[in-house]
Every structure is written in structure tokens, then in C-alpha cells.
């Protein structure tokens, strides 16, 4: 069973729909025991960082997520919440990835919205893909490039498109909305 972390962020169902299309069963839950016992955990999200972190802390989900040993995939806000700190609402985050999240400087349109390719990519999530495959993004904040970065993208400046640290994986783009390329990345994660 795949567990999708239930929290205040929106459009969690689209991740579940993508898993159904790939033939995987999942539950949307904030129950610690269900999260701990699942084979894989997906931590999705569109929303605002400080209110999302507050929701997680109030339910003790911050500690649960950090204690997980199975593969975990953060998506979009999920990736940002797995960093140390976010400028959005001046939020202290989970700190899985040793990097910070900043607002794009206003020199081009914000949010970064639409399809973009990676400048670099490596690791398990990107098996079978090339940097020419476009992925769908919608975000105004970005994670700075760090040693955890496994894929980079360029919009206004180069930023982390994906990160990995041990069993924790995360993507800034939305694999569940990125057509076949996104499905391939989800499949790579599910087959870890």
C-alpha cells in the first residue's frame, strides 16, 4: 500500500488518480501508524508553507515523516517543506535537505508556470529519461541547489528540480501532471 500524506494542502487527489492509472492502490491518511506501515509514502502539496507546517506539527506528523525508513517522495510544496527553511511565511521546515527555499526575484513572470526541461538529472527517479523531457511546474518559491540536488532546472536562475537524501526523494515539478514523462518518474519511484 502507498500512503499519501493528508494535510492542509490542495489537490492531493490528483496524485491518487495518477497512482490508480499506474495500477497502484493508495490511501490518503494522516494516521501515523498507516504512514509508518506503508511501503512508500508520497508527500504532495500545493499550498502555503507556514500553514502547512503548522498543520503537520499540530498532529506530530513532522516527527513521523522524519522517522520514516521507506522511500518517501515529496512533490512541489512537499519538496519545499523537506528543506531547512522557507522564505514563504518565514517558516522553519523539516530539514531533510540541507538547503533553503527562496522567492524567485521578480525579473520574469511569477509563478514559474508551465513545462520546462532539466539542465541536469541523475539518479533512480530519472531512469529512462533525458534532459529533453519537459515537466510541469507551478511555483513561486524554489529550493537552492545543494549537495542533495539530483536534477536542476533553470527559470530566472538555476534551482533544484529534484533532490534526494537517503530514502527521501522530492521533485519541484508535478509528476502527476506531467503526462508520460511524469508517469515514468512516478513509476521509477514506485519500483524503488
Amino acid at each position: 500500500m502507498i500512503a499519501i500524506v493528508k494535510y492542509s494542502a490542495g489537490n492531493i487527489k490528483s496524485v491518487q488518480n495518477a497512482l490508480i492509472r499506474l495500477g497502484y492502490k493508495s490511501i490518503i491518511t494522516d494516521d501515523p501508524s498507516e504512514l509508518i506501515s506503508s511501503e512508500k509514502v508520497i508527500f504532495p502539496g500545493v499550498g502555503e508553507a507556514s500553514s502547512a507546517m503548522l498543520y503537520l506539527r499540530e498532529r506530530g506528523l513532522d516527527r513521523i515523516i522524519l522517522s520514516l525508513k521507506q522511500p518517501v517522495l515529496g512533490i512541489c510544496l512537499g519538496l519545499q517543506l523537506m528543506c531547512r527553511f522557507s522564505e514563504e511565511g518565514e517558516t522553519k521546515c523539516l530539514g531533510v535537505f540541507d538547503t533553503d527555499v527562496r522567492l524567485f526575484p521578480p525579473v520574469d513572470k511569477i509563478p514559474h508556470m508551465g513545462w520546462n526541461n532539466c539542465l541536469t538529472m541523475k539518479g533512480d527517479l530519472f531512469k529512462g529519461l533525458t534532459i529533453n523531457n519537459d515537466l510541469y511546474y507551478v511555483h513561486s518559491y524554489y529550493a537552492e541547489i545543494s549537495t542533495c540536488t539530483v536534477a536542476t532546472c533553470d527559470y530566472i536562475l538555476p534551482f533544484s528540480a529534484a533532490m534526494q537524501q537517503g530514502n527521501f526523494y522530492a521533485t519541484q515539478f508535478h509528476p502527476e501532471k506531467s503526462a508520460e514523462t511524469g508517469e515514468k518518474i512516478l513509476k521509477n519511484f514506485l519500483e524503488l
Binding site: H112, G114, G182
Partner: protein
Amino acid sequence: MLKRRIIPCLDIKDGRTVKGVNFINLIDAGDPVELAKVYVKQGADELVFLDITATIENRKALAVLVERIAAEINIPFTVGGGIDTVNDVSILIKAGADKVTVNSSAVRRPELISEIAGQFGSQCIVAAIDTKIIDNEWIVVVDGGRTPTELRTVNWALNVEELGAGEILLTSMNNDGTKSGFSLDITAQVSRSVNIPVIASGGAGSMEHFSQVFFNTECSAALAASIFHFGEMDIRELKKYLKHQGIAIR
């Protein structure tokens, strides 16, 4: 590099696509989900579904349709038509819509945009602006273009950005349905003035029209309906053409 987007728009009435379609091998040509799947296969970057009836009974049919779309479509989609309240939005988002679009109701009550942005985030709210030249000036019109307002289009665009809209869908009613090309004038003015993405709409009739709007304006996407529905233009062919012109396209 961020790509310019091509967005087919489907008009929905009672859960069915309104305009006729003549794709070969489509089991049910009036089923928006079947049509949407064809567009996804052709390489559409996003989809917009507009409920043109938008009565209370139809709202339920729309929510059911949105659930079906969300289950079967693996690219982002926007739903609009008759959205007046945050509750209307909540139903559509819960059903699986990625974004919603508001038009006349936001002109009447601009706070609707900030209420939606506050609850669901700016990325969720597309402000649709219909515009027309009246006495040599681009003016916002509502009720499907029938009712002129006092608002100047660029000012209203800046206003919706300030209120928290994440994107603008700009339709020139002077060009809509003419197949004579997008309005480069107002599209350039609006896309230069705001710092959020602008979708150009109204007037697409040929592949050159798409390259013109991408070359001459800072729009992030271009939307069209009938030329795609009637099979006059294949999205694959269009994207091949635009790439060949040197435009960043997926």
C-alpha cells in the same frame, strides 16, 4: 527553458462538448473526456473546460464531469463558467480541477479573486478578462461580451494581479470567432504590464497566428477552441511548426 503553452478550450453544456467534432474513430464525439484525451495525445500542454450553461442543476453535472476528467487526464486543467463563490471553487477543486477561472463575477465583486487565492493559492485562480475596443479604447466587457464596463483592460489586469490571480486568460472579443489572428495589440499591452502569465485567446485561425502572438507579445500561452475541435488544426502539426519557427515549445 520554459515553454510557450498551447491550450485547447472545450465548451461544455449539460456535461457534453457543445461544438461539433469530427475526429475519426471517436466513439462518442460529444464526450468532453474523449475529446480531451485526443488533445492530450496530440500534445496539448493544458486544457480549459468552460461550462457555458452554468445553472445550479448543471453545477452537479459539472462536478461529476470534473471527477472523470481528473481520473483520466494526466496534464493540468482549468474549469470555469458561472463561478460566483468560494464554495463553487471548493467543489470543483475537490473534484480534481487544478485551476478555476472567474470572469464576470470577479468584475462585479473583485474580492472573489482574493478570497479564492487566500483559500486555494494564487496558482489556482485564473482571471478571465474579455475585452473589446470601445471608442478607440480597450475596455473590459462581461456577460459573454454583451455588457461593457467602465474598466480599462490594462488597469483591470493590474488589479486582478494585485488581488492575487495567478494567471490571466485574455480574450479579445473583437477577434474571437473571426479566425483573423489574436489581437497582438492588447495581448502585448497586458502581458508587458503584469508579472503573471497571460494566456492569449480569441481569433486563432492559422498556425501563423500562433507564431505571431508568441513573437510579438510576452504571452505565456495561446488558447483556441473551434480550430482544434473541427480537426482543422492538429496540435502536433502546430507544435512542430512553432518549433521550426524557433519558438520554445514542448
